[in-house]
């Protein structure tokens, strides 16, 4: 078990290195200039060169990359061009906000998704199944940023119940909770649909297996059958949960932009328009690390539940 984890951890290093090279190349090859975003168009050539020097943009790309990597290894992600704050601070603050949103929307999506999926599987073909499946399809197909705008129109503009944007800590915990309600719902829609569908099909798979028939023939109560089915369907569901949680963390650029929620997605969006390369590189690297670790965690959990996987 520990050897397996160790091997996976070692394998994560080249994955992250690869990701960092791709990110570095992409942000530097895209048209636009980090300095153009922060200086007036009339700033003199000399001043532009001065600023380039301060950020090290005067060096050839491979040198820039190696220097950056050297600092990252020591835990220094550099300084934001736009705010001149240490990137690590930006990443820390935004990651905390995104984690909160990822957690709250995951709890909502996982809970409701699994419940809907199981309900649909056990009532296959009946009205309840159709309703649950329809909800799942809506969840998957409705663009969450659009849903976000609709939520704002209804709950912020028309009813005036909840704030439309930001994560203002003005009202303390209650204020923060109020601010996160709408983005949580918007962000939960897609994983809710995905999880409901996966859970339904996984549960149906198991339900159609002979051992379930045998359990039932043995006269086991429906409740106990249900428990067996859930345990057998769990590995498949957990894989999806892990991936979805990862998506929740990194894939909320649009929702965070719609709600101006100061998380990693909002920061990425800002950094792209400002060509704030140190921030872009830092955020993406941290998110990639999260993805890798999360995958590892899911694999370990799966092995724990189903020891056959470790042997493969």
């Amino acid at each position: 078990m520990w050897r397996y984890v160790g091997r996976r951890l070692v394998l994560a290093v080249p994955t992250l290195l690869g990701a960092s090279i791709i990110v570095f190349a992409m942000v530097h090859l895209a048209p636009g200039d980090p300095i153009a975003a922060i200086l007036p168009v009339d700033a003199s050539k000399e001043q532009i060169e001065d600023i380039k020097k301060v950020y090290g943009f005067d060096k050839p790309l491979p040198v820039q990359y190696l220097k950056w990597l050297g600092r990252v290894v020591q835990g220094d992600l550099g300084k934001s061009i736009a705010t001149r704050r240490a990137v690590i601070l930006d990443v820390r603050d935004s990651l905390a906000n995104s984690l909160v949103l990822a957690l709250s929307s995951s709890v909502l999506a996982f809970g409701a998704g699994i419940a809907l999926g199981l309900l649909a599987a056990f009532r296959q073909g009946r009205a309840l199944d159709k309703i649950a499946s329809a909800m799942a399809v809506i969840g998957v197909s409705v663009p969450h940023y659009w849903a976000g705008i609709i939520l704002i129109i209804i709950f912020s503009v028309q009813l005036g119940w909840l704030p439309a944007m930001g994560a203002s800590s003005d009202g303390g915990l209650v204020g923060y909770l109020r601010h996160m309600t709408l983005p949580t719902i918007a962000l939960a829609l897609i994983p809710l649909g995905v999880i409901a569908r996966v859970t339904r099909s996984a549960a149906l798979d198991i339900l159609n297996q002979e051992f379930v028939l045998a359990l039932r023939a043995k006269g086991l109560a429906q409740r106990r059958v249900f428990a067996h089915v859930v345990k057998n369907a769990a590995p498949q569901i957990i894989t999806v949960l892990g991936l979805q949680f990862g998506f929740q963390l990194g894939g909320s650029v649009l929702v965070e932009a719609v709600f101006s929620w100061p998380g990693t997605g909002y920061l990425l969006n800002l950094a792209i328009f400002q060509r704030d390369m140190p921030v872009l590189q830092g955020v993406i690297l941290v998110l990639a690390t999260f993805f890798v670790l999360l995958n590892l965690l899911v694999d370990v959990l799966q092995t724990y539940i189903d020891p056959r996987i470790a042997r493969h």
Binding site: D42, A43, R84, S156, A164, S168, F273, Q274
Partner: protein, 532 residues
């Protein structure tokens, strides 16, 4: 399950009812900036940075009088009580400084602070040189060569050449507290605990999220004592986010509501405030290549544009037609020979004179770089499509190349060379606040890159002569008259396709009182109050 749903409903309701009432006398503003402008003295984010941070927290030696709507703001004493050019040597200016002014940190304002600030943006050797702030504002201070302390409350400014434009540049140098810098010794830290002399002081700074200002009750000018206790500035680059924030009561004031929301906002009881100000939106043309090297074609293009249509139908009256750099009624407008009204027949006639009949023989393909969004760019895609259609109607084919705003500013700097060699027009918006921004950087031969941004290039000996004369004329009325002549010449030469002037729309709740929109990019927040 039922219990769970019940729990959700209760939780939702209690969250909804625990409404976060805002503090009294707080003005909350949704800015268009993507981020909080730099608070360390010389702001970034262009003039929006000066508007909300620069001129609220700091002050220059000379202020703009932003209390009136009907005429352009005049230059009035700020941290300097008076200033004059030396009669013996017109390259020297004497500024008498205001006494008994204190920075937010309690330290006194004096000549040392002015010299300290100047060094921080102009002297690379100074230990407290601010590379970033210097790059933001250094180019605006081209006429300030050196600043010397004469005594504690007198300074002398030396200029490289005789220049009457000095006061127009001094307004951009915001005085920072040397004492506070001495405490932190780093501009980033200074930006987090800034100290100026302005009517508001920074009390809370959440990077990328909000900046909270509090009234500076020790402010030196009782007439400009803030009426609100607090101002909260929130960066909201997305127009729909700003709109939702205003409509849901999260802010009291937003900059630039989406034009198509204006009727609806008015209907819902919101105030829409607009006024003319020195903003220009048009196409800068490449003058050394076909088709724009022909003045007749340039004039034809200017007569082809339906400016009233653009402002009325597309922008809901948030702009006015632009027929020159300045608008009619501006002291620099003058009396141009051509007033470019929508006149397709005249446009076609001019094209015919230039040798194009508009059907078989049309001006060579013109390529225009435009942005998809951007500061001051208004609705660039829709507006440019109308410009393109107007030009096509008279027989000028324009190929629009939309690129992202950041790339456009970068390619504007490069001029019509290199990557831009195939381009012969560029759509970008500008301010014309002072003589250099309005004319000097575009219409003087010495501003050809890399010196400045005369990328067209517009080289005209008469324009050079007039601009040099204006710079040597210290009587402001006479100076205005000379600049009006420059403007007449520029309008006649038509080096741009003049399109519109923005009206800087703002939407506010009915509770916001006392705001006077000046003809300026800057505003005075001290006179604004928020009713309960």
């Amino acid at each position: 399950m039922t219990r769970f749903i019940g729990f959700l409903v209760v939780a939702g309701l209690s969250l909804a009812l625990a409404s976060g009432a805002s503090a009294e006398g707080t003005l909350r503003i949704g800015m268009t900036a993507a981020d909080i402008p730099y608070t360390g003295g010389q702001p970034d984010n262009g003039f929006e940075g000066f508007r909300f941070v620069g001129y609220q927290v700091y002050e220059p030696l000379i202020n703009w009088d932003l209390t009136q709507s009907d005429k352009l703001p005049a230059l009035v004493p700020g941290l300097a009580e008076s200033w004059e050019v030396s009669k013996a040597d017109p390259k020297k200016w004497i500024f008498k400084l205001r006494k008994n002014v204190k920075f937010h940190d309690g330290s006194p304002f004096n000549a040392d602070a002015v010299v300290f600030t100047f060094e921080s943006v102009k002297n690379k050797q100074a230990p407290h040189y601010d590379t970033y702030g210097g790059a933001q504002v250094g180019w605006r201070l081209a006429a300030l060569k050196a600043i010397k302390k004469v005594d504690d409350f007198t300074i002398e400014i030396e200029t490289p050449t005789v220049s009457s434009f000095v006061p127009y540049q001094v307004v951009y140098m915001l005085i920072v507290s040397p004492t506070q810098w001495g405490k932190v010794k780093d501009w980033r830290k200074f930006a987090e605990q800034p100290s100026g002399t302005g009517p508001f002081k920074v009390v809370r700074f959440v990077p990328r999220e909000r900046l909270e200002l509090e009234a500076n009750r020790a402010y030196w000018d009782p007439k400009r004592m803030p009426k609100v206790d607090k101002v909260v500035l929130l960066p909201m680059p997305e127009p729909t986010t700003r709109l939702a924030a205003l409509r849901s009561g999260q802010v009291d004031w937003i900059e630039v509501p989406p034009p198509d929301s204006i009727q609806q906002l008015k209907g819902a009881g919101f105030q829409i405030v607009t006024n003319k100000y020195p903003h220009n939106w048009g196409h800068i043309l490449r003058l050394d290549k076909e088709p724009w090297n022909n003045k007749l074609v340039r004039k034809a293009a200017n007569y082809a544009i339906d400016r009233v249509g653009i402002c009325k139908n597309l922008l809901n009256d948030t702009c006015v037609p632009g027929t020159g750099v300045a608008y009619k009624g501006h002291p620099w407008f003058g009396n141009p020979k051509e007033i470019y009204e929508y006149n397709p027949a005249k446009s076609k006639e001019l094209l015919k004179q230039a040798g194009f009949d508009g059907t078989t023989k049309r001006p060579a393909r013109a390529v225009a770089l435009i942005s998809t969004s951007g500061s001051g760019q208004m609705l660039p895609l829709a507006m440019n499509e109308l410009v393109q259609k107007n030009l096509k109607d008279v027989g000028i084919d324009v190929d629009l190349q939309p690129i992202e705003w950041n790339s456009l500013t970068q390619r504007f700097r490069a001029g019509f060379t290199g990557e831009n060699a195939g381009v012969n027009a560029l759509n970008i918006s500008f301010n014309f606040v002072e003589p250099f921004s309005a004319f000097g950087r575009f219409f003087h031969s010495k501003s050809v890159p890399p010196a400045s941004v005369n990328i067209m290039p517009f080289v005209n000996p008469e324009s050079d002569r007039l601009l040099d004369e204006a710079e040597k004329t210290f009587d402001l009325a006479k100076q205005d008259a000379i600049l009006a002549k420059v403007h007449e010449l520029v309008v006649d030469e038509a080096p741009w396709i003049f399109v519109v002037h923005d009206l800087n729309p703002r939407a506010m709740t009915p509770k916001v009182k006392g705001f006077v929109p000046p003809q300026s990019w800057f505003i005075d927040l001290t006179q604004v109050s928020v009713a309960k």
